[in-house]
């Protein structure tokens, strides 16, 4: 496969994961990603509604893509702000959980 096609297949897989309907809800288990996402609120406000940027209610694909884009930035680039080393500390699985959870906050 070409690099582009591999990338598109990867992106499609991620999109599928983000858009797939959630498994039937456990009556007692907390929503997946809720605690992880809550640690964005110190800078983005409770439920992600304020702070540096509103992060609630956007599509999970959009949030995930933005976080991955931040992860790719290198020190020395013009816009190397606090979110970049931040994003680099999370695993893909965690970013997916966070993105899905944030997308559910209206």
């Amino acid at each position: 496969m070409t690099t582009t096609r591999r990338f598109m297949c990867g992106l499609a897989a991620v999109a599928a994961a983000l858009l797939a309907p959630a498994a039937p809800a456990q009556t007692t288990a907390p929503p997946e990603g809720r605690l992880l996402a809550s640690n964005c609120f110190q800078c983005h406000g409770t439920d992600g509604r304020s702070g540096f940027e509103e992060i609630n209610g956007k599509s999970s694909t959009e949030i995930y893509s933005k976080l991955k884009e931040m992860q790719r930035k290198q020190p020395g680039t013009e816009d190397y702000g606090i979110m970049i080393p931040h994003a680099k500390g999370y695993t893909d699985a965690q970013l997916l959980k966070i993105s899905k959870y944030l997308s559910t906050i209206r």
Binding site: T28, L35, Q42, H44, T46, D47, F52
Partner: protein, 451 residues
């Protein structure tokens, strides 16, 4: 760990706490607080369009939270938000309001007023139904699951969260009240902050300001270096020729090393003398000028700010939550449950979990403990997919700030947090954008914690 699992369901309809955040208008966080001291900072805090609504939930349980600081408030709030109406949360705090340590260094330079840093407990009570009691918890009985207050009243709990902050060692020479009134730490924002500000205002031009920094770990790793910078900046402009001597017990700058070393050696090279490996051995505050002896020799100052070594808050120390000879409460890192007392969680500066002591982090420890407790009430194992992030903006001058961040992943194989990603990271240089971001970060963090 034993707990009683409630099996009946509470009739939990949609719970709307009809939150209204006070709006006082005005957006300049540096303007003196014109209106009521307690409501103005929240008005300046992050403006949520509406507060978050607690979930509809059948979980039940009683939690007592001791200590109304960054960690205690976050825990109390999220126990209600995530737990719903069946979870009873009582917050016991000895003071009628909270004064933020974060940004209190700017009171020393006159850029902030201490009253602008005062936060009320009323909003969390109103928004989420947290029962707030003013009082002092003195005793903890983990077997009966009961706390005793100074007025001899008691509160029973299913789970207890203890978050009293820190107490300060008495430095040799500062045993008397008079000595400690003269040589303040101002590491607990409030009257001492005002005292130190007044001392700096009264210091003779060309005088010497001495600061001492204790060995790590202590509350807020970058804080003392920030203080040295903003005071040096203020002295440069207001009392030129004055000096700042920083006696650091540590072998090197403990946070944002590049930023502070650059500031001390560059912008402030004619003002600041930074002395590492200089633990304080004694202080003589009886003469006109104050003598400070350290492992690196003797200095004399006109104003001395001695930040002593710290340990867990009194209620933690007095109730067998700290191992013999230790300063901090040992906890299981995933839940913050005490290693010495079942059902008791210690969060915030008082605990030792391998992560820094900071308000931004205490807020997250509160959420992590809340989640762990709610899972326990439901018979679920704790979450182990945990991340703690540290983020902080540090003022370097009156108009520029830098930032730091570090991300810690919980590692189930070691039962602790380890730093990941790019490790401790800091801004390339302090900027005025950084200063605006600092104000936004602070307002958002305080809104997320107190509203």
């Amino acid at each position: 760990m034993n707990y009683t699992r409630r099996t009946w369901l509470t009739a939990a309809g949609a719970v709307g706490f009809g939150a209204v955040l006070t709006r006082c208008g005005g957006g300049d966080p540096l303007a003196p607080a014109a209106s009521d001291a307690a409501s103005a900072p929240l008005a300046q805090a992050e403006r949520s369009r509406r507060s978050t609504k607690p979930v509809v939930s059948s979980t039940t349980g009683r939690v007592v939270v001791v200590g109304g600081g960054m960690a205690g408030l976050a825990a109390a709030k999220y126990l209600k938000v995530w737990g719903g109406s069946g979870v009873q949360v009582t917050l016991v705090e000895r003071n009628p309001s909270y004064t933020s340590n974060i940004l209190s260094n700017l009171v020393l330079t006159g850029q902030r007023t201490i009253s602008s840093l005062v936060y009320s407990y009323a909003t969390v009570k109103q928004n989420y139904g947290v029962d707030v009691r003013q009082g002092t918890v003195v005793g903890i009985d983990p077997v009966r699951r009961r706390v005793t207050l100074a007025d001899n009243s008691t509160l029973d709990y299913d789970r207890l969260i203890v978050a009293p902050g820190v107490v300060f060692d008495v430095l040799p020479g500062l045993e008397s009240d008079a000595a400690r009134s003269r040589v303040v730490h101002a590491w607990q924002a409030g009257p001492e902050t005002t005292t130190l500000r007044n001392q700096l205002l009264a210091m003779p031009t060309g005088g010497t300001f001495v600061m001492t920094i204790p060995a790590s770990p202590y509350r807020c790793p970058p804080g003392p270096y920030e203080r040295a910078c903003v005071v040096a900046d203020w002295l440069k402009r207001n009392k030129p020729g004055s000096k700042v001597i920083v006696l650091d017990a540590n072998p090197f700058v403990q946070a944002e090393r590049h930023t502070f070393e650059t500031a001390f050696g560059g912008l402030f090279k004619d003002v600041v003398e930074y002395v590492p490996n200089a633990a304080v051995t004694s202080i003589d505050a009886t003469q006109a000028r104050i003598t400070v002896d350290s492992l690196m020799g003797r200095v004399v100052g006109d104003v001395v700010n001695a930040i002593p070594p710290q340990r867990a808050g009194k209620v933690v120390l007095d109730n067998a939550l700290v191992s013999t000879g230790a300063r901090w409460a040992g906890v299981h890192a995933a839940t913050f449950e005490s290693t010495l007392a079942a059902g008791v969680h210690v969060i915030g500066d008082s605990c030792s979990a391998g992560i820094p002591k900071a308000g931004h982090i205490g807020n997250q420890e509160g959420k992590t403990a809340a989640d762990a407790i709610l899972r326990a009430f439901r018979g679920l194992a704790p979450d182990t997919d945990l991340v703690v992030n540290s983020a902080c903006f540090s003022p370097i001058t009156a108009s520029t700030a830098s930032w730091l961040t570090a991300v810690y992943q919980y590692d189930a194989s070691t039962g602790g947090y380890r730093i990941v990603g790019t490790g401790p990271s800091e801004a390339t240089r302090p900027t005025s954008d950084g200063y605006s971001q600092m104000n936004k970060w602070f307002a958002t963090l305080m809104g997320e914690t107190f509203a």
